[in-house]
Symmetry: C2
Subunit: 256 residues, 2 copies
């Protein structure tokens, strides 16, 4: 156990290259996709300019937070006017890396893996599923996703080859929990440094690899926690019919 406390490089907190890249706070990065999505909807709705107050309302955050977040990217607004929707959307997409195509490898072609391949929200943001792998002979060879761009399920053997070709940038783990760590190790060994884990397992990665996790059961458990609290301490005065504090005019523009 003492090995867990081994001499690491003393995490030099300010690792930032003093060159170009000002660091963007993680909390801000996590919200940028939301801003980008809403801006995209505004473009579709023909809106040309938004104020921070309006955009924040449509995104479900405070305008102060929105402006603070955007200030980390640069000064892309105009005082007294607001933000040019197209321009801001572009700046955010550039910051997020959405202006270039990304290849996604999915390991596990069960229910979840199949749903992910079929998910249209990926392609629409520049993510292409370049490979799906499974070890079950009964699914290997089957075509998944859009019949116009079918993605065949391959056997695990071919994983390293495909990643080695360089078109894959992000690995997605959609296997049972038991296989997750081993699959992750293979993805990393093959050269991937960005991993999204859907398996209900805590897995470990080497330093320098970015691992994110989506755990469906965790979300439900957190909701159960709140629901239990609510049952123990019912909201005094009953449910107030008070409805959404979200910018309504913009909401209408978006839904139009």
């Amino acid at each position: 156990m003492s090995a867990a406390l081994s001499p690491r490089p003393a995490l030099s907190a300010l690792d930032e290259d003093a060159t170009t890249t000002r660091a963007i706070p993680p909390a801000t990065v996590a919200r940028l996709p939301v801003y980008h999505r809403v801006l995209t909807q505004l473009i579709d709705a023909g809106v040309e300019t938004v104020s921070s107050e309006e955009l924040a309302g449509a995104c479900g955050v405070s305008s102060a937070k929105l402006r603070k977040d955007l200030s980390h990217l640069g000064s892309y607004g105009t005082r007294g006017v607001g933000y040019d929707v197209q321009f801001l959307a572009y700046q955010i997409s550039r910051e997020l890396g959405l202006t270039q195509p990304w290849g996604v490898v999915i390991v596990g072609a069960g229910n979840l893996g199949q749903a992910l391949v079929a998910y249209r929200g990926f392609a629409s943001r520049g993510f292409a599923v370049v490979g799906v792998f499974d070890c079950d002979p009964t699914v290997i060879g089957r075509d998944l996703g859009d019949p116009d761009h079918p993605v065949p399920v391959r056997q695990m053997d071919e994983l390293e080859d495909l990643v080695g070709q360089g078109d894959a940038h992000i690995g997605v783990i959609a296997t049972p929990a038991t296989a997750a760590q081993e699959v992750c190790d293979r993805l990393v060994a093959a050269g991937l440094t960005s991993i999204l884990n859907f398996a209900p397992a805590v897995i470990a990665v080497p330093e320098g690899v970015e691992l994110r996790k989506v755990d469906l059961a965790v979300e439900l458990q957190i909701l159960a926690f709140h629901e239990q609290r609510r049952m123990e301490h019912p909201p005094a005065g009953g449910r107030t019919g008070t409805s959404t504090p979200v910018a309504e005019s913009l909401g209408e523009a978006i839904n139009a």
Copy 2:
């Protein structure tokens, strides 16, 4: 737009009933399911006692954070010894509300909805899918999930009836983005106060309703951001082969 600044009840920040319930910080609540899962695995592995150092390692957090988190629930450890695995697992599950059964209603029986119904991680934590709804006549009536406990897809009409029966506690939105807000409104109107949204849409709920969101595309975009950073500023000195800082002995116990 000025209506968005309307006089709200001045969010009385300390709403806590001074009665029983000490508030648990949200950041802590979000980690409890992870602790619980690992503890369950330790039970299965026959481990009877863990130290905070060991458990933290297996969960991927620092021992200081783990102890701080647990201190919000009570004093369930023994100085000089550690934590009784079974006892701690029980305390956490009680805190999370996992000691009682929860009914889940899923709206949307597309790829994702079907994957959710089939997901075994729900039932194993006390969540039962009590209803699945869709508006597509071609899927209505079809049986989903485990053939031993099939869940028929019902038409939307029956949503309010089912929720009204009181067996449903949590609503899950697995529809296209366009339908998400309307579906959410119906779930809330029917009486649900805990909602999990998988649709790629920003939706609004009345005060008092707990809404959580899982956005697959957002996770990929955050990974793309980091991947882009990594490509612009490659890790000096190449990839260090340094592997996982995770408790290995416990990891072996868990995987045994």
